[in-house]
Symmetry: C2
Subunit: 454 residues, 2 copies
Amino acid sequence: MEESKKFLLQEKDIPQAWYNVMAEMPNKPRPMLNPATKQPLTAEDLYPLFSEEASKQEMNMKDAWIEIPEEVREMYKIWRPTPLVRARGLEKALDTPAHIYFKNESVSPVGSHKLNSAVPQAYYCKKQGVTNITTETGAGQWGAALSLAAKHFGLALAVYMVKVSYHQKPYRRSIMETYGAEVIASPSMSTKAGRKIITDNPSYQGSLGTAISEAVELAMSTPNCKYALGSVLNHVALHQSVIGLEAEKQMAMAGEYPDIVIGCFGGGSNFSGISYPFLRHNFTGERNTRFIAAEPESCPKLTRGVFQYDFGDEAGYTPLIPMLTLGHNFAPANIHAGGLRYHGAGSVVSQLIEDNLIEAVDIAQLETFAAATLFAQSEGIIPAPESSHAIAAAIREAEKAKEAGESKVILFNLSGHGLIDMTAYDQYHAGDLVNYQVSDEQVLANTKDLEKII
Amino acid sequence: MEESKKFLLQEKDIPQAWYNVMAEMPNKPRPMLNPATKQPLTAEDLYPLFSEEASKQEMNMKDAWIEIPEEVREMYKIWRPTPLVRARGLEKALDTPAHIYFKNESVSPVGSHKLNSAVPQAYYCKKQGVTNITTETGAGQWGAALSLAAKHFGLALAVYMVKVSYHQKPYRRSIMETYGAEVIASPSMSTKAGRKIITDNPSYQGSLGTAISEAVELAMSTPNCKYALGSVLNHVALHQSVIGLEAEKQMAMAGEYPDIVIGCFGGGSNFSGISYPFLRHNFTGERNTRFIAAEPESCPKLTRGVFQYDFGDEAGYTPLIPMLTLGHNFAPANIHAGGLRYHGAGSVVSQLIEDNLIEAVDIAQLETFAAATLFAQSEGIIPAPESSHAIAAAIREAEKAKEAGESKVILFNLSGHGLIDMTAYDQYHAGDLVNYQVSDEQVLANTKDLEKII
């Protein structure tokens, strides 16, 4: 009998509702605070910044299932459902008894999972009559996704792109421009926040935190304009749950259930998306799956950050968020996984780590590129540097299974392909990439003045 | 009721056999000739160059169906079956009554249809004990595909990449290297053919014809080494028939049958792949579908070439092929659709055009990028510059349908995505791209001394 390589759903299997983990997690996330009053925020407090629907979703601790609008499901059909793939080639290369599966989110037209949240965020803005949106982007994955979604729903979009990525990844800028968006390298002179940073440090290469400050400032100072964020927040994790919901059906087609679920970790969007739909079965005691968030060694907020109230951005424009953080002034090294260069984790992930419901590992840059190359040669797909963190973590677990002689079932999310990141591969092959460690002193210096969580 | 956007098959629907148009076309293609003796070639004559199985397939005029080996189908499962997509976004943007479908071959890990033939060619080499293979590549699509297939079957590969593409498309070089292939810019000093061309014209930017000469020379002078070609030849068109065979099932799922089938045209691999499985129903009189090959205005062999015996390569190493040709010394302009910069068409396509069974159109570079941008913004996928020729031809037909008020069903092949071609889009947006016309004098000068077809 022929063995299945891919497990494929039909369009009718695209989920009808997103899964909202906040309704079912044992300890709710702590509330976001108004930085001036230190009072918990309400959904209404977010209306100036986000669409009303996204604001409500952000605060919804009650409904485990939230209906996906018809218009959103229609646009999801451009690339969803995505395949679940049995990584037989990688298993063979590792000679492991583990069964390795990956959810292939790289098949979206922009090459990553980011479109899952870009579509509803743009849709909700359009629905309430917004005409302009702003955002930030690191590696350019989120910016590309929002550019396509904005074009689809007829919104004008300005994207602040982290300067180092703007120069390292010019193709992503071209992609956004092809979809009709305006792209600005951040820090820029176009905002107060950007001007201050450039004045203080003219050679600063930018960070997600800085770019967020600029995008938020532009949104707040422009009529009929909202801001959209690609990660960290609860409504983003909500939208990304389509990944895990589809994967759950597909694992059932394969006749297996994961012992371990893995996602790379920047702000949490793809990790949350693949994990929470499976995590809900841990809440009920029905399953005992391990969940591993794989972050870069150079930006280790989950493994070495502090759990305190911090700003989501460099300039301190956002609410105070209860997060595992390296401090909002932490400047991560210029690794190629630009999408993982963010100082903090969302409130839900942070709470789940505090409660020992999920785990985290940090991985050095060179290990991620070795894993990526092995994956490319054995499975064909060249992964994004970000996703390579999940692959490296999966390989570690597959090797442990081999040592222990156990047939574990490992599922990871391939959040994106790396076809637009070939410069990074070039540098890796040339031996020009290095690892970046973070010292305890660095972490302490950036976190000692944060608002304590009581 | 929800409307379907994509028509998706399962792995079991990957065809079990390829369709060989030569067995059923009314007038067989004329034979290839030995350039020295002018005698028709046999399969055995090709053994020094190609694998024996590919050589036999090249000459097979008898079997309409040729079984796909199990190992090939297994590797096809990495990305096949590919989706058939109803281009509802494009239809809406054009406000056309036409129904537009595209077969999305861009979902392969290398981003194009080329892997369909790379896999069996590498497999047949491996099966007969070959250890090394060589090839040429234009835009890099074929080279990337063969690199992955060679790695999968454990073969060492050297790729001669057309110099202009080597520099315009460095990412494709990195992709090939990531899969473990060696890439050489052509013309190079590593072969007699390359040295001669460089000596005659030191600034020559290369062509597919030149790169083929170099790859053939290396294969012929290296022990246990074969050559693999990504287009033009009959066995390549055979392998590509999986595209049309899947599309035929998927059009049936959609409840429609194409009035018009369109593919872009370089050497004919993707055009043949999408077309021949539908064309067979024209042979029987059961259908009356139109088939349109869309070629670049700057390399118009189908619309303005001569039908004569010509070499497949610059240096004259190949057999004489009966082809619509601009002459093997024709040097096409440096358009971004590098995969379409080839002087001739395969013997089958040439015969089918002679017999008025298929049509051809030529399209200017700027029209293709306008079509590509409209497609990207309405369907999400940024197309390869090559594939944009098919899109432009489909748009022309959809607009004709609108003028005539007819609801035509149009099917085109999206042979690849353009995520590695963003430099070209950058130049288009900046207004830096131009059209390139070919004069009658150029065509005459390059074709007047060719071997006449009697």
